[in-house]
């Protein structure tokens, strides 16, 4: 009988985490190699919207577990929610994206299901005996091991992030068209199964955080000729709880340290929000920040290349704009006219 491969789809802020798609693609490759049945399983409160993407990437079935709860999921909670479903359908292989959450969930689930687990695999394949061979690096990346889970089922693995190419499935996988099976989460999914109770999050201190980890960055460039000119950039960063960074020019002008330099001779950053002040946008700089999700560019030269990659191009002198902006942000705080703001990326996955 055909093998069944399941891939857990991790959802953050109602979006599918890229790593999960990588896992799905790996699962898809695996399924095709063994003519196995590929299914995806997802926990969220708005799964329908995401169903399409999942199925495009080759899943024939999607098990969608609806949760009402808004508070961030705990690995233990999700494990409990999935365990039942998995026991019922008994997949042979169960894959996860190797994110922090994915890895944790996998371990909890393995504990729950009393089965083996291989973390951060970079390759998966079936042996001729049909057993899943899990390739991974260990001994501090000095040894490549191939592990197997001969008896226990499912054979669980998490996929090392960022190395599998995401490929859409060439043909609709299941002749009858994809099926979506909705189940209500077991009560345990919303209330923590593990006895540890979530109390909240402590965001990283943007002043000490490594800028490549920062989720908001305010960056200054050549327009700030010295530290005093640079001061408003820092102040803005403060108002936004952002990390301060800069182009090489900012380093040369002595405004920031080299550890906060973005670009080819500095660091590569991928914040959710990048506010770039007085940076023209030479390749040497942009190569380090092209991963930014949303970019606001403030530059007096309307033809500066930075504007071409910005979601919002602000043509004007940063020295004029920043103080205004800071003033407004502060009044915001006091009047608090921003209800329902979510901490950007604060659920820690």
């Amino acid at each position: 009988m055909n093998k069944i491969i399941w891939v857990y789809i991790e959802v953050v802020e109602n979006e599918i985490v890229e790593t999960s798609l990588e896992a799905l693609s790996e699962g898809h490759r695996l399924a095709e190699s063994a003519a196995a049945h590929l299914a995806a399983v997802m926990i969220g409160n708005d799964t329908d919207r995401l169903a399409e993407t999942v199925l495009q990437h080759g899943a024939a079935t999607l098990y969608a577990i609806e949760t009402k709860s808004a508070d961030p999921p705990s690995p233990a909670g999700h494990a409990a929610a999935l365990a039942g479903l998995i026991r019922d359908h008994g997949p042979d292989v169960l894959l996860f994206g190797g994110t922090l959450f994915g890895n944790d969930l996998a371990v909890y689930l393995a504990a729950e299901l009393q089965t083996g687990l291989a973390k951060n695999c970079d390759k998966l394949a079936f042996s001729e005996k049909g057993i899943l061979e899990q390739h991974r690096l260990c001994f501090e990346n000095k040894v490549h091991t191939i592990e197997v889970t001969p008896q226990a089922r499912p054979q669980m693995a998490t996929i090392e992030p960022g190395i599998v190419k995401i490929g859409k499935a060439s043909k609709p996988y299941r002749p009858g068209g994809p099926e979506i099976i909705r189940t209500q989460a077991a009560a345990s999914a919303d209330v923590d199964a593990g006895a540890a109770i979530h109390l909240g999050f402590i965001p990283a201190d943007p002043r000490t955080i490594d800028i490549s980890d920062a989720s908001i960055i305010v960056a200054g460039g050549n327009a700030a000729k010295d530290v005093n000119h640079f001061a408003p950039v820092r102040e803005l960063a403060d108002c936004l709880g952002a990390a301060v960074a800069g182009s090489r020019a900012a380093v040369d002008n002595g405004c920031i340290g080299r550890d906060r330099q973005i670009g080819q001779s500095g660091k590569t950053v991928a914040p959710d929000l990048m506010i770039s002040c007085g940076i023209s946008g030479a390749h040497a700089h942009t190569i380090g920040m092209k991963g930014s999700k949303t970019i606001i560019a403030i530059n007096s030269d309307k033809n500066a290349p930075i504007h071409k990659m910005a979601d919002l191009g602000v043509v004007g002198d940063m020295h004029g704009i920043l103080p205004e902006l800071i003033k407004r942000l502060k009044t915001f705080r006091t009047t608090g006219t921003q209800d329902g703001l979510s901490d950007p990326k604060m659920d820690g996955r």
Partner: protein, 660 residues
């Protein structure tokens, strides 16, 4: 200090340990005299070795008299007299704990009767992109001969004490002409399927390995993607590199891209983003078990370190980077990143001079290729020096003069240093020019030259200061209206009143706005016109570029643009929809209209234009010089002497400072 541990960790290639991950890739220096290396070679390579590079691959050396491109450019490896010279070079390099390999080269059809009085050889009778001459199709005997010639030079390399050899299988030379389905249309066992197309290369590998044995390293420099329609792609490259690796005779792969037809991407100009082709190495590294070296436009130690750390390659290759700053590795290792003079891929000193069969040097580093001949020595009599103009020429002169112990002051009338180069430096694709300015600034601050900004120097001022020497680097003047500014009807444009005209400089600086339909009168077919066109096209303007006659009489291409930059720039204009009319000159302009004249038929055509942009040459600003030349020792350099390129400005700055 930035941690570059990965870049400076040793690597073992075929049993030979290299002290760090920096490889100087082979590049023709053009230092040869009647076909043989010279002391200039020895000094050049020794300087790089002293700078701390781990492995030097010495320039392509000709295995065969049959195809040698140009007898005055490539060392003629087939001549027995070469061996002592090679030994000199290896000894010099080994003195500094660096390894050195020799690159074995057979040009195939990249060779012409014009230079050698004999046609090139190739896999098939396909004219090559470099010269357009139809080569001779090689028969079995010729193939065996070529293979033997590779082995013969390998033998010489062994005798001369090289640590290894690198086979030049790249850049559209002979082996690639066999490998590439674009060039190779044979039907015998050397053509057709991949295995056949690889046969010639395989024979060379086997023959060379047989000669050098196991004590020497054998590497291959190969393209990973030809970037031409009908050429091989990265997928093919994965296949054939894997097969090479499987022979067990190949110790490492040094990857580049392109072939003659797509040449510009092998020595990419500055508008190509940094590290463009590292992904090729990364992908190929997954399919082979030997070290892989990534190259092409890697000019920064941090970037290089990241490439190693991220497992994209085992080694990084640099040619222009080390040409520009031989001390790159030492400085990087010591954490002195600011002191590194970064290559900006201008190609002015290297590729272009090579094209014109001149020995190479570097725009930013006049000492390059002149090691020993050019060096900064303490001045016998420290003198009081005034440098006027904070452009490239002025800054270089000031820095060098100061290092020699003179008492130097630098004056700049604008609020910032950099001079005219700051104008193109704003344009997308030309922004690397900033790096040149950054370094010059860093240089003068680190040697401690007092800089007086916002200071327009007058004759009176100079007489008051009583300097021993005045170095005049005050730059040139923009031509805004050829009608009025230019003498001689030949170059003049009759501009009717009310016509919207603007000088290219002003447009780039943002001083002048243009209408929607723009005609650019480019009198010289210089970079200025081309980038202005791209700059305006980027803004969504409808741009027509009128160029008189793209071919200079004395040279292959437009004189101040090397062919690589030129080609990629044209590509950009094409992709951005710029209309280019050549063999025409703009003669008259009125509001909304421009009349252009065919240079051959002298017939007029009428174009609609809201704005006419003038891209003319610049003129030297001679006022100050004329006022003082008889009274004090005043010397003109750079645009103040004659408006030319940055390379001339920096060269003259350096030169004048070493002469006072």
């Amino acid at each position: 200090m930035t941690d570059l541990a990965h870049l400076f960790s040793p690597l073992t290639i075929g049993g030979k340990t290299i002290k760090n991950r920096i490889l100087q890739s082979a590049h023709i220096t053009g230092f040869v005299e009647n076909g043989l290396p010279t002391d200039r070679h020895v000094k050049y390579y020794e300087a790089r070795a002293r700078g701390g590079v781990g492995l030097i691959v010495q320039e392509a050396t000709v295995v065969s008299p049959d195809c040698q491109y140009h007898p005055e450019m490539f060392p003629q490896g087939y001549r027995p007299e070469i061996t002592p010279w090679l030994r000199k070079i290896t000894e010099a390099v080994h003195r500094h704990d660096a390894a050195i390999f020799l690159q074995l080269w057979h040009g195939g059809h990249v060779s012409t009767s014009m230079h050698t009085w004999r046609p090139g050889w190739s896999s098939s009778e396909v004219p090559n992109a470099a010269f357009g001459e139809v080569p001779v199709e090689m028969d079995g005997r010729m193939i065996r001969q070529a293979v033997q010639q590779f082995a013969d030079l390998a033998q010489k390399a062994k005798e001369a004490g090289y640590d290894g050899v690198e086979l030049n299988f790249c850049h559209g030379y002979l082996q690639q002409q066999f490998l590439s389905p674009f060039n190779n249309i044979r039907t015998d066992e050397y053509g057709g399927n991949l295995e056949n197309r690889m046969r010639f290369g395989m024979e060379i590998i086997a023959a060379v390995r047989q000669v050098i044995g196991r004590d020497m390293v054998l590497g291959i420099r190969s393209a990973a993607d030809e970037f031409i329609a009908g050429g091989f792609t990265l997928d093919d490259a994965k296949e054939f590199t894997a097969r090479w690796a499987r022979t067990g005779d190949v110790d490492y792969l040094n990857l580049t891209v392109a072939t003659s037809k797509s040449g510009p991407y092998a020595v990419p100009p500055m508008m190509v983003p940094p590290r463009p082709f590292v992904y090729c190495a990364a992908e190929i590294r997954q399919v082979v078990d030997i070290p892989v070296c990534a190259g092409v436009r890697i000019n920064d130690p941090v970037m290089a370190n990241a490439i190693i750390e991220n497992g994209e390659a085992d080694m990084v290759a640099m040619a222009r980077g080390l040409l520009c700053d031989p001390e790159f590795p030492n400085k990087a290792k010591a954490g002195r990143l600011d002191d590194i003079r970064q290559c900006i891929a201008c190609n002015e000193g290297c590729w272009e001079r090579f094209c014109h069969h001149e020995p190479i040097t570097c725009m930013q580093n006049p000492e390059a290729g002149r090691e020993g001949e050019f060096q900064i020595t303490p001045a016998d009599h420290p003198r009081k020096v005034m440098v006027i103009g904070g452009g490239c020429a002025g800054m270089k002169a000031a820095a060098v003069a100061k290092q020699r112990g003179h008492q130097v002051d630098l004056y700049e009338k604008s609020p910032e240093l950099g001079g005219v180069i700051l104008i193109p430096a704003k344009v997308p694709g030309r922004q690397e020019l900033e790096q040149a300015v950054r370094y010059l600034k860093h240089e003068i601050t680190s040697v401690g030259v007092p800089v007086h900004l916002n200071t327009e120097v007058t004759a009176e001022m100079i007489e008051a200061k009583k300097p021993d020497v005045v170095i005049l680097a005050s730059g040139g003047k923009t031509i805004r209206n050829p009608g009025a500014d230019v003498v001689g009807p030949g170059q003049a444009i009759q501009v009717a009143a009310g016509t919207d005209i603007a000088a290219a400089e002003d447009v780039l600086e943002g001083k002048a706005e243009t209408g929607q339909r723009v005609v650019i009168a480019d009198y010289q077919n210089y970079m200025k016109g081309l980038i202005t066109a791209e700059y305006l096209a980027d803004q969504g303007k409808a741009v027509t570029l009128v160029v008189p006659f793209p071919i200079r009489m004395m040279t292959h291409n437009s004189y101040d643009i090397d062919i690589m930059t030129y080609a990629v720039q044209l590509r950009n204009l094409e992709t951005k929809g710029v209309k280019r009319i050549s063999e025409y000159e703009v003669k008259r302009a009125a509001p909304g209209k421009v009349w252009i004249q065919n240079v051959f038929t002298e017939e007029f055509e009428e174009l609609d234009a809201d704005t006419l942009v003038i891209s003319y040459w610049r003129k030297a600003d001679t006022a100050l010089y004329d006022a003082l030349k008889d009274r004090i020792d005043i010397r003109r350099i750079g645009d103040a002497l004659s408006p030319r390129r940055v390379i001339n400005a920096i060269y003259e700055g350096y030169k004048v400072a070493t002469e006072i």
